[in-house]
C-alpha cells in the first residue's frame, strides 16, 4: 500500500512501525535514557520507539520537547522516522532539530491503515510512505 502525504522533515528511511493513537510529548512521555514510553495508561507504556517508524496522532505539551529528543538522539533513542496525522509546532521542531524524517497529512489516516509490526519504507522528501503489511 502507498500513502501520500506532506513533508515535515526531508529524508529517506525504513523500519518497523510502532503505532500510538494518542498525542505525544517528548517531555514526559519518553524516557530519553532508554527510548521507552513512560506514563502509566499510555498505549505504548514500556515499549521502545528507538530506531522505529513512530506513528502517532499529533504533538502536545511542553516546548522543551525538542531538547529532550536531542538528549535521546545522543543515546540513539529517537525514532528512525515519524508519521503523524497532523503536526503542531513543537513536534515539527522535534523532527527539524534532530533530523528525523517525518511526514503528516497523509491521504489516508495512518492510525487506521498502519499497525505496529508493519514494515514502512518512507521517502519523506517526496512525502511517499510504503506500508508492507506484516500478516
Amino acid at each position: 500500500m502507498i500513502l501520500k502525504g506532506k513533508t515535515v522533515k526531508k529524508g529517506i528511511v525504513e523500519g518497523e512501525a510502532i503505532v500510538s493513537k494518542l498525542p505525544f510529548s517528548f517531555l514526559g512521555d519518553l524516557d530519553p535514557q532508554t527510548g521507552k514510553v513512560v506514563p502509566e495508561g499510555h498505549d505504548l507504556q514500556g515499549q521502545s520507539i528507538a530506531g522505529k517508524i513512530f506513528v502517532f496522532d499529533t504533538g502536545k505539551g511542553s516546548t522543551v520537547g525538542p531538547n529532550v529528543a536531542y538528549q535521546a538522539k545522543q543515546l540513539g533513542n529517537t525514532p528512525a522516522g515519524m508519521i503523524c496525522v497532523e503536526v503542531e509546532p513543537v513536534m515539527a521542531m522535534v523532527a527539524i532539530m534532530n533530523d528525523i524524517p517525518m511526514v503528516h497529512k497523509l491521504d489516508k489516516n495512518p492510525l487506521d491503515t498502519i499497525v505496529t509490526g508493519d514494515y514502512i519504507k518512507m521517502n519523506a522528501t517526496e512525502g511517499v510512505v510504503e506500508v508492507i503489511k506484516n500478516s
Binding site: 505539551g61 516546548t63 503536526v87 521542531m93
Partner: protein, 409 residues
C-alpha cells in the same frame, strides 16, 4: 518561501554556519505550516541548553538580532539554598558558567526567568515574539495581543540569531480568533483567589485541547496576576496558546469580535461543577502532611512576595517544613531592598532566583521529600504527573500549611 536579500545572505552562509543553520531551520519550520515569508521578531526569549548544539548554533554569531532574554533553569548557588546535593549544584554551576561565557558576549540577557514580561521583555499588540515556555506564550498572545507561536527552544534560538520568524499560524489575525467558547455562570468570582482562577483555567485547558479559547464572565476589573494564574495551566492540561477574555483582553472587546463573527466550534458552560472538577484534578496528596511549600510558577513579582512577607511577619514556619519562593534576579534584589527577604528568612523560608521551581529536581534533595503544597495550578499539574503528592490552594492556604505543618484547607 520568499526571502529578503538579507535572509538569502544568511541562508548562503555569509554570516557563518550558526546563522545559516538558524535560518534553514526557520525556513523548514515555516514550510510545514504554509508560511510564504518571514516577519521581524522584536522580542525573543530562549533557553540555552544542549551544550554542543548551542555551540553549533552560535558558531560565527557576533550578536543576537532581537532583544533576547533567557529562560529559567537551575542556578548552582540557588540549588544549595534549596538543599540539593553538592555534586548536582557543582555541575549546575559549571554549566551555568559555560553558558554565560557563550551568551553574554553575543548580547543575550541572562535573566533566567520564565516571566520575560516582568524583566522588560514586553511585546506590544500585533508585534511578533518568539518565546519558549507555554506560560509566557499564552500571556503575551492573550493579555498583550502580541503574536507568537508555540515555539520550542530551537525555534526561539533561531529567531534570536536571525531576528525573524515564519509568518504562519498565530502570526496571522485570521488564525487568532476564538474557537471554543466558555461561559462562566453561577459562580461568585468577586473573592476568587489565584487558586480559584487556576482551577478554572486547568478545567478550560483540558476541555479546549489545542484550540483557541474565548471566555465570557470574568470580571472586567480582573488583575494581571489573576489572569496569569488563570492562563498558565491551560497549556499544561491542554495546549492552548491564546485565551481571549471578553471585555478584558485587547482582541476581545466583544464576544463577536473575539470569535471573528463566526460561530464557535463548541460552547461550554463553567459552573460550580466544572469549578470543583478543576480543583479535584489539582490534588494528589493522600494525607495532610506537608514537607515543601513553594511559590514561583510563574516567577513571583514584588507585590506577590510582599503579600507572602506580610503573612509571615513575626511567625515561624514549622520545623519540618521547607518554604521555597522563586523569582527573577531583579525582583530578588528588590525584595532584598524592601526587607522582604530578611523577614522571609527569619520565618525560616528561602528566596531563590534563576530557578524553574516547577521543574524542581526532587531526587537531588539531600533530605528527601515527595509532598508539596503550592498556589500554582500549572506547577501542581506538572508535579502530579511526576508522582509528587500535591496540595493545592491560595497563598494564604499555603502559608498556613507552612506555619502549622499540616494542610488545613
Amino acid at each position: 518561501m520568499r526571502l529578503t536579500d538579507e535572509e538569502k545572505r544568511m541562508f548562503q552562509g555569509e554570516y557563518g554556519s550558526g546563522t545559516q543553520k538558524a535560518i534553514t531551520m526557520l525556513i523548514e519550520y515555516g514550510e510545514v505550516f504554509g508560511a510564504e515569508k518571514m516577519v521581524k521578531v522584536h522580542n525573543a526569549h530562549t533557553g540555552v541548553t544542549g551544550g554542543q548544539w548551542t555551540e553549533e548554533m552560535l558558531a560565527g554569531v557576533q550578536n543576537v538580532r532581537a532583544f533576547t532574554t533567557t529562560h529559567a533553569g537551575m542556578a548552582g548557588s540557588a540549588g544549595r539554598a534549596l538543599g540539593l546535593k553538592e555534586e548536582f549544584c557543582k555541575q549546575a554551576e559549571a554549566e551555568q558558567r559555560k553558558t554565560l561565557e557563550m551568551i553574554i558576549p553575543r548580547g543575550f540577557i541572562p535573566a533566567m526567568s520564565c516571566a520575560p514580561y516582568m524583566i522588560g521583555n514586553v511585546p506590544t499588540a500585533g508585534r511578533a515574539f518568539s518565546w519558549p515556555g507555554s506560560q509566557g506564550i499564552i500571556v503575551a498572545n492573550s493579555v498583550f495581543g502580541a503574536r507568537g507561536n508555540r515555539d520550542a527552544m530551537p525555534a526561539s534560538m533561531s529567531s534570536a540569531i536571525t531576528g525573524v520568524t515564519p509568518d504562519m499560524l498565530l502570526m496571522q489575525k485570521q488564525n487568532r480568533y476564538g474557537q471554543v467558547h466558555f461561559r462562566i455562570e453561577d459562580l461568585d468570582m468577586e473573592n476568587f483567589t489565584e487558586a480559584d482562577y487556576g482551577a478554572i483555567g486547568y478545567f478550560i485547558g483540558s476541555a479546549a485541547g489545542t484550540k483557541n479559547v474565548v471566555v465570557e464572565g470574568i470580571p472586567e476589573n480582573v488583575s494581571f496576576d489573576m489572569l496569569k494564574f488563570f492562563m498558565s495551566p491551560q497549556p499544561v492540561s491542554g495546549a492552548v496558546a491564546i485565551c481571549h477574555v471578553v471585555g478584558v483582553t485587547p482582541e476581545a472587546p466583544t464576544l463577536e469580535e473575539a470569535l471573528g463573527n463566526r460561530k464557535p466550534e463548541e460552547s461550554i458552560k463553567i459552573g460550580p461543577k466544572e469549578y470543583r472538577e478543576g480543583w479535584e484534578g489539582l490534588h494528589s496528596a493522600k494525607n495532610d502532611n506537608v514537607e515543601i511549600v513553594f511559590f514561583g510558577c510563574p516567577h513571583l513579582n514584588i507585590a506577590e512576595i510582599g503579600k507572602i512577607t506580610r503573612l509571615l511577619k513575626g511567625k515561624k514556619i514549622a520545623g519540618e517544613v521547607r518554604l521555597f519562593i522563586a523569582t527573577s534576579e531583579q525582583v530578588h534584589v528588590l525584595a532584598h531592598n524592601m526587607g522582604y527577604v530578611d523577614t522571609i528568612e527569619k520565618a525560616g523560608g528561602v528566596v531563590v532566583s534563576g530557578v524553574c521551581i516547577q521543574g524542581f529536581p526532587y531526587p537531588q534533595l539531600k533530605e528527601p521529600a515527595n509532598t508539596a503544597a503550592t498556589n500554582s495550578a500549572r506547577a501542581a499539574s506538572y508535579q502530579i504527573r511526576r508522582g509528587i503528592n500535591i496540595q493545592y490552594g491560595s497563598t494564604e492556604d499555603c502559608i498556613n500549611a507552612a506555619i502549622t505543618g499540616t494542610w488545613g484547607r
